[in-house]
Amino acid sequence: MSDPVVKKFMYINRRAPYGTIYAVEGLEVVLIGAAFEQDVCMAFVDDGVYQLKKNQDTSELEIKNFSPAYRALGDYDVNRLYVERESLEARGLGAEDLMELTYEDEDDDWAEKPSVKIVDREELANLIAEQDVILNF
């Protein structure tokens, strides 16, 4: 078999969780897509930043709290979660309001490293520009 082609994939999330199914469906697609061993990252923009808010508790809504699944992304080799600073600030949020997500770096003796990176719009624009495939949720 020839070497598989590895493309740069970015999943852009712009919707809040729970109000619509975009967020949970998007996360599911990322988890499924991870099986194809591509170079995958996620971006959280606009209301999408609410997906990473800590302390989500859906017990009274009787729907599944899927926020713990973001912590499994590292197991799926999805280690780069970019959050746009402008979107956070517009919502009065900062890094301390987000879940602490980490991955274990196989190439660095399984050292635990943060997955979430807050980037400003220019950095994010550069990241978007370098992708081969972008999927939106």
Binding site: E28, L31, I32, A34, A35, K64, N65, F66, P68, A69, R71, A72, D75, Y76, W110
Partner: protein, 110 residues
Amino acid sequence: MTLEVSGKTYETDEEGYLADLGDWSKEIAEYMAKEDDCDLTENHWEVINFLREYYEEYQIAPAVRVLTKAIGRKLGKDKGNSKYLYELFPYGPAKQACKYAGLPKPTGCV
């Protein structure tokens, strides 16, 4: 579909996965395994219990690649490989073991 174990009826999906993971018991796991002609050994339980813990923590059933890697880290390299896991669960480690563990079918499994 439903499943009947010791006189009690449990709801399942069309492939026999428990509809409500709160219904799960060891007895149900053993019953499901027997239906597949599979005797659950210590080694099987190690994987089933691991999956239940994983689901408890992350709310998802891990894909087989993730399961293999995680088992390897937790139980050692001789168990964290697909040969070992497929010997235990010939219908597919994630698929079959998740069923016995009362979890939904892993995301991405067809």
